[in-house]
């Protein structure tokens, strides 16, 4: 306009030219400023200086972030050069725009351009309307799900719950892709196959879809993706940034003065570290939900498998083996639950062991540190209870009830006392050595002592000279042998080793030769004796000085240990713990510790490997006191669940013999769980015993036992001789099987348990009635109607009870069929445990059910070694008839070393799955167990277009080439037609 308008040749030409050139300069500046601003903005974004702007969700937040950014850049321009350049460029561009606006206004002031101005105004208004409508649309986005199954619509209940969430409580959802679909042990060394990769990709896509649905309902959800294999960022740096941002967002808006701000910042760092650790510990692809609830930072964890579970077996078998991707959809509820209940109380699990070494705080591999790690990763709180303590005098285990802290305090006190005693001993040793050193130091100057020593030297010299000469001869011999071997050997490594040995021996020889010469001289020469004495005195003084240095080092080490113990003690609430320790009522104390626990795990690791020299821990260590059992009984009476992992009671006869069931085991028996006094041995172990005996193998422990089986007939899980009752599988077994299906049809979930104990569930019978009935029924000499009626009633009652208690197969762990039950599983000089067929007992056939001994009849496997039941607490456990009998869930595994491992080890994937499914079932969280009610797979059109059929080829090539060819033909026809005209 002003630039392009032809300038009239007049007197005013010079000023117009000036303004025109100034206008050009301003426009050039504006354009350059705009370009500079864009380039600097890109640079600043790359350097991460605009992060606060990028994460702003509302304009006000963006404005505040922008102002703060500008202020920071102004204060430290050197460090924020990109931001400064961006701001300067933007300011220049804005100035130019302002000038342009003034020019346009000046232009429109003339009458000639009024019409044009009208058009410009209309255009501007239309542009404003366009921007306004789209801005409104940007902030009021709405999506309508028109899919057939409403697959992008959240259930009404979830939407209702989400609507109640506070809009100002930001929640961060971290999608953590660690490229591991399943944390199963056998997958460790196996690369992901196509099914795993595709499942991973699809589940991530589904997670993103779901997150978007949640975001559509509440803008307070921030989503961050963490990919361990991302090429866009360094994982560790991003992990640091994301966790810190999540912790900071959770604390956003907390009013604070300077001092509080420091505290909040420290808390943010701690929260971020906790979150970081949780992410690092996650065994497989996971989601983390973090935010603030009740003024506290909370994190909830969800594995991808809790959302979609890969069924590789079904995937491989789909469509007659052509394959597909089949995922088992677990529903949106697990996702929503974690999001809506961030601050939900974590279930508290108590783990009762008999010694600190066996607890979750232990560093040894027989401890349960890996169990704690697995449970905490899965969102459980874990607490330890130690049920025995070591008597200081007898070193025997005595009944006690200690928390892990109490045990720790006890240990620290003992450690302190031991170290103090050690220090005293070291001090006295130091004094003694100092005396000796002084003595030898004095000897060098004392003429009388010197004369006495010289006399002794003269007497000893011949013998010593001879002795050293002999030493020299021996070492010469050795040197000759080494040289001969070196000539014969071709191996460079061995030669190098021999060379080193040769050099060392030559050095030794030189010393011996020197000593020999000295002593030989000392026989005749008094001057030589003098030299020798000086040398001996110096040697003695040096030795004592070295000893003193070592003692000083030991003192310092002990002092450090003492300091460490004191520091550790200072971290404990010593007074409260000492008060707790003084509580002598075991029952009350255990009851108090169990009061806030939701589940009790009692591991009893006895036999670990009968073929090895060290079979495990004696069963005799484990029995509990009646008071302790009473407290656990109260726990059960309240309907709270227990997971017992009881190893076999068998123990070598020469080492005290078998253990006996204690009160706790008897409680389980009352509830119908029978744990036999036997150990299940596998056929391969028989071979291992034989090899061991023949000295072919150092320890049979290396023999791999067969894995547990997951498919068995209902008869296998019942006590031998029981009538077969076909029942559905237990929820735990179903869940494990579903998880195992993720491995594919060629693989099984390999869970190997060595030396387990057979466990059965035999429903308790109605007291008295059955015994009478059987007695009457079994006496045909006196047939009577009352007897028959009683028998039938008893039978009916038994069946009803069986129906109630055995609505599902209680067994969830079963050994392979290549096993047998053994009363004495230990090999000896004259015996190797092996299976022997027992003589048939004809009397058993006439019984309604085998007697108790029947369970222990020796037979071939499979054997149930894990049982989970939901049962009713017996009436006899209650004081009053009026008391309501609680329903409770119990699980018993016949091996105590099932979940052991130190804190550096992770619980193997298979064990972890069994553990988590069992615990969820015990806690009544059935909704968290995998199910296959909703199956998702890729749609296929194979029914209408059979693969590799002529129909498919017709479709493929007809559409790919046929249609374009047809329209090319039409085009050519038209072209020809036009030429014709």
């Amino acid at each position: 306009m002003a630039v392009t308008a032809p300038a009239p040749i007049s007197a005013s030409r010079r000023p117009r030219l000036f303004w025109s050139r100034l206008h050009f300069v301003i426009r050039l500046l504006g354009l350059t400023g705009g370009l500079l601003a864009c380039a600097a903005a890109v640079l600043a974004a790359v350097q991460g200086e605009l992060r606060t702007l990028q994460t702003a969700t509302v304009p006000q937040q963006a404005w505040t972030a922008g102002v703060s950014l500008a202020q920071t850049a102004w204060q430290a321009p050197q460090q924020n050069l990109a931001v400064i350049l961006c701001l300067a460029g933007a300011a220049t561009a804005l100035f130019t725009l302002l000038v342009e606006l003034l020019v346009v206004l000046a232009f429109t002031a003339t009458r000639r351009s009024a019409f044009g101005f009208n058009a410009v105004v209309q255009g501007v208004l239309a542009a404003v309307a366009l921007i306004g409508v789209n801005l409104w649309s940007f902030h009021h986005a709405a999506q309508v799900d028109f899919t057939r199954d409403r697959q992008f619509t959240l259930p009404a209940e979830v939407r209702k719950d989400l609507a109640q969430m506070h809009p100002n409580s930001p929640t961060t959802i971290i999608v953590y892709n660690r490229h591991k679909v399943f944390a199963l042990a056998q997958e460790k060394d196996k690369p992901e196959d196509d099914y795993d990769k595709e499942a991973q990709r699809k589940v991530i896509e589904k997670v993103h879809d779901l997150v978007e649905q949640f975001r559509a309902l509440g803008r307070q959800f921030n989503v961050e993706v963490l990919d361990t294999e991302s090429k866009d960022y360094k994982f560790t740096e991003r992990l640091q940034g994301v966790t810190l941002a999540a912790a900071r967002d959770a604390r956003a808006g907390e009013p604070a003065d300077d001092k509080q701000a420091q505290e909040i910042e420290a808390q943010i760092q701690t929260d971020a570290e906790t979150l970081r650790q949780m992410i690092k510990d996650a065994p497989e692809n996971s989601l983390f939900f973090c935010g603030r609830e009740n003024q506290q930072f909370h994190v909830q964890h969800l594995s991808f498998n809790d959302f979609y579970l890969l069924d590789k077996t079904l995937s491989e078998d789909d469509r007659g083996g052509r394959g597909n991707l089949v995922l088992l959809y677990q529903g949106v509820e697990p996702f929503a639950r974690r999001l809506l209940k961030l601050g939900e109380k974590k279930p508290r699990i108590a783990i009762a062991t008999i010694h600190e070494v066996l607890s979750t705080g232990s560093e040894y591999d027989m401890g349960l540190a890996s169990l704690r790690k697995a449970l905490e990763t899965r969102g459980f709180d874990v607490t330890d209870i130690v049920l025995k303590k070591e008597n200081k005098d007898t070193s025997r285990l005595e009944p006690a009830v200690y928390s892990l802290e109490e045990t720790k305090l006890e240990r620290l006190k003992r450690e302190e006392s031991v170290v103090r005693q050690q220090l005293v001993k070291l001090q006295s040793a130091r004094t003694a050595i100092e005396k000796e050193r002084d003595f030898w130091a004095k000897a060098a100057d004392d003429e009388k002592m010197r004369t006495s020593f010289l006399k002794q030297l003269a007497e000893q010299a011949p013998d010593q000279a001879r002795q050293h000469a002999q030493d020299v001869q021996e070492i010469d011999l050795k040197l000759r042998q080494i040289r001969q071997v070196m000539q014969a050997v071709d191996n460079d490594v061995i030669r190098a080793r021999l060379q080193r040995e040769l050099e060392q021996s030559e050095e030794e020889r030189e010393q011996f030769v020197e000593l020999r010469d000295l002593w030989q001289k000392a026989i005749r020469d008094s001057a030589a004796r003098e030299t020798l004495l000086r040398r001996i005195i110096k040697q003695k003084a040096d030795d004592y000085t070295t000893d003193l240095e070592r003692i000083d080092q030991a003192v310092r080490r002990s002092e450090r240990q003492l300091e460490q113990a004191r520091n550790d003690k200072a971290k404990l609430n010593v007074r409260a713990l000492e008060e707790q320790q003084q509580m002598s009522d075991l029952r009350a104390k255990l009851r108090r510790l169990l009061a806030d626990c939701d589940l009790l795990i009692v591991p009893r690791m006895t036999l670990r490997n009968t073929a090895a020299g060290f079979p495990g821990l004696r069963p005799r260590y484990y029995p509990l006191e009646a008071e302790q059992v009473a407290a656990i009984k109260e726990f059960l009476r309240a309907g709270k669940p227990i997971l017992a992992c009881f190893g076999p009671l068998n123990w070598p006869q020469e080492d005290g013999g078998n253990g006996e069931p204690d009160g706790l085991e008897n409680l389980f028996t009352e509830l119908g769980i029978k744990m036999l006094k036997q150990t299940v041995l596998y056929d391969v172990e028989e071979k291992a015993f034989a090899e061991n005996r023949a000295g072919l193998s150092i320890a049979g422990s290396s023999v791999e036992v067969p894995p547990l089986i997951w498919d068995w007939s209902s008869r296998d899980s019942l006590p031998p001789g029981s009538p077969d009752l076909p029942r559905p599988a237990s929820r735990i077994r179903d869940s494990v099987r579903l998880t195992a299906r993720g491995l594919g049809k060629d693989q099984t979930l390999e869970l190997r348990i060595r030396d387990p104990r057979p466990v059965y569930f035999v429903p308790p019978e109605p007291p008295g009635l059955r015994t009478q009935a059987v007695a009457l029924f079994a006496s045909p000499a006196q047939p009577s109607w009352p007897g028959l009626t009683l028998s039938l009633t008893a039978l009916g009652q038994s069946l009803e009870q069986a129906r109630q208690q055995l609505h599902a197969d209680p067994v969830f762990l079963m050994t392979s069929s290549q096993s047998w039950n053994e009363d004495n599983p230990f090999p000896s000089d004259d015996r190797i445990p092996q299976f022997e067929q027992p003589k048939s007992d004809k009397d058993n056939r006439r019984r309604l059910k085998p007697a108790a001994g029947g369970l222990e009849t020796r037979r071939r496997g499979p054997f149930p070694i894990g049982v989970a039941v939901e049962t009713t607490v017996p009436r006899s456990w209650y004081a009053s008839e009026a008391d309501k009998r609680a329903r409770l869930r119990l699980a018993v595994i016949g091996q105590g070393g099932f979940f052991t491992g130190n804190d550096k080890q992770k619980l193997p994937g298979a064990e972890e799955k069994v553990l988590v499914h069992t615990i969820n079932w015990l806690l009544g969280r059935d909704d968290r167990l995998p199910h296959d009610e909703r199956v998702w797979s890729y749609p296929r059109v194979n029914d209408t277009i059979p693969p590799d059929s002529p129909t498919e080829y017709l479709w493929l090539w007809g559409v790919r080439l046929g249609l374009p060819a047809l329209f090319a033909y039409f085009g050519l026809v038209v072209l020809l037609f036009r030429r014709l005209r």
Binding site: K202, Y938, P939, T944, F967
Partner: protein, 352 residues
């Protein structure tokens, strides 16, 4: 229910009614205006079929979509764990498709005004007894119609993509099904009547038959197929048909936007090539942003990129059966804005 309305609600309803009536009146007025200029629509539309470039566009477009179809069909019959949950997403979420699509609107619109301007026929057109908006809308509708024709052959893919079986016919004669059939018949009669030159009255009748028949078929069909019981015709399909419907609706809308942009640019420049390149550059803003996909983060950057990115709209919404208000409003508003500016641009030529 009406008696329970508050004063404010009454006012809102009244305003809405007035706006709707105004819009309806505007539409009728526009329709009358377009009917009067129907010869221009016909001329513009038939011009596409006489031009080799339209056939080139058709052949290339069908070749590319055909190839994408073949890839999608491969996934629908694949061996192993690969597959596609939304066939339309696989087809129209591909970069290749959008790369080709980017060129189509500029190629269709570049000649609309630029050619007239360079050959000097624009002045002649401007002297015709037509208003500027009629000229603009006629050219636009003709172009949009050709764009729609471009998509028609792709309907052939649908039976394969949906896993459709042979249709089933039922003897289900109800009021709604009869309305549906009558509506379809009316549309057919209306279309047939358009073929011979029967004069203005007959054409008006045929148009009325098409519009009213279409409405009757739509309402009757909707009610008939949302009622329980057997339906007149049922086409059993394995896959969800709604994503297909919304993909085509989305493609129509996005085409309407890009064609309006192309039309505006064509009205501003004299050279066809320049018009095409400028339209391509503007189109690149909407399509190119979809190729750069930031991670799923809750930043404003992602939201802004999503707002403008047409490929992302199709990938995340239309092809999956989701109707998103943001792209629909964006496409509609940009199309209207560009058409408005095109009219102003033509007007500007008059007063210049």
């Amino acid at each position: 229910m009406i008696s329970n309305l508050s004063g404010r609600e009454w006012i809102t309803l009244t305003v809405l009614l007035v706006v709707l009536l105004g819009a309806a009146a505007g539409l009728v007025w526009t329709a009358i205006g377009l009917f009067r200029a129907r010869s221009l629509i016909r001329r513009e539309f038939s011009a596409y079929f006489l031009s080799p470039i339209a056939y080139v566009v058709l052949v290339v477009f069908l070749f590319v979509t055909g190839d994408l179809f073949a890839n999608t069909l491969d996934l629908l019959t694949a061996k192993g764990p690969v597959g596609t949950e939304s066939p339309m997403q696989t087809m129209f979420g591909a970069k290749l498709f959008w790369l080709v699509f980017l060129f189509i609107p500029p190629l269709l619109t570049m000649r609309l005004f630029a050619e007239e301007r360079s050959s000097g026929t624009l002045e002649m057109l401007m002297t015709a007894p037509l208003r500027d908006w009629q000229v603009v809308l006629c050219k636009y509708l003709a172009c949009l119609a050709f764009y729609t024709v471009l998509w028609l052959p792709t309907l052939l893919y649908l039976p394969a993509l949906l896993g459709a079986r042979m249709p089933l016919f039922h003897n289900a004669w109800t009021v709604t099904s009869l309305t549906f059939v009558a509506g379809l018949a009316s549309v057919l009669v209306g279309l047939v009547m358009l073929l011979p030159h029967l004069g203005t009255t007959a054409r008006l009748v045929s148009l009325a038959l098409i519009v009213l028949g279409g409405m009757a078929a739509g309402i009757g069909g909707w009610l008939h197929y949302h009622a329980q019981g057997p339906h007149l015709i049922e086409v059993p399909v394995l896959l969800d048909p709604y994503p297909v419907l919304w993909t085509y609706a989305g493609m129509f809308l996005v085409g309407a936007m890009f064609l309006a942009i192309g039309l505006l640019i064509s009205s501003l420049v004299r050279n066809q090539m320049v018009a095409a390149i400028l339209a391509l550059a503007v189109g690149l803003l909407f399509i190119g942003s979809g190729f750069w996909r930031p991670e799923l983060v809750s930043s404003n950057l992602y939201n802004i990129v999503y707002f403008f990115s047409v490929p992302m709209h199709f990938e995340r919404a239309f092809t999956r059966g989701l109707l998103d208000s943001q792209p629909i409003i964006l496409y509609g508003s940009v199309a209207l804005f560009c058409l408005f500016l095109t009219v102003r641009s033509l007007e500007a030529r008059r007063w210049q």
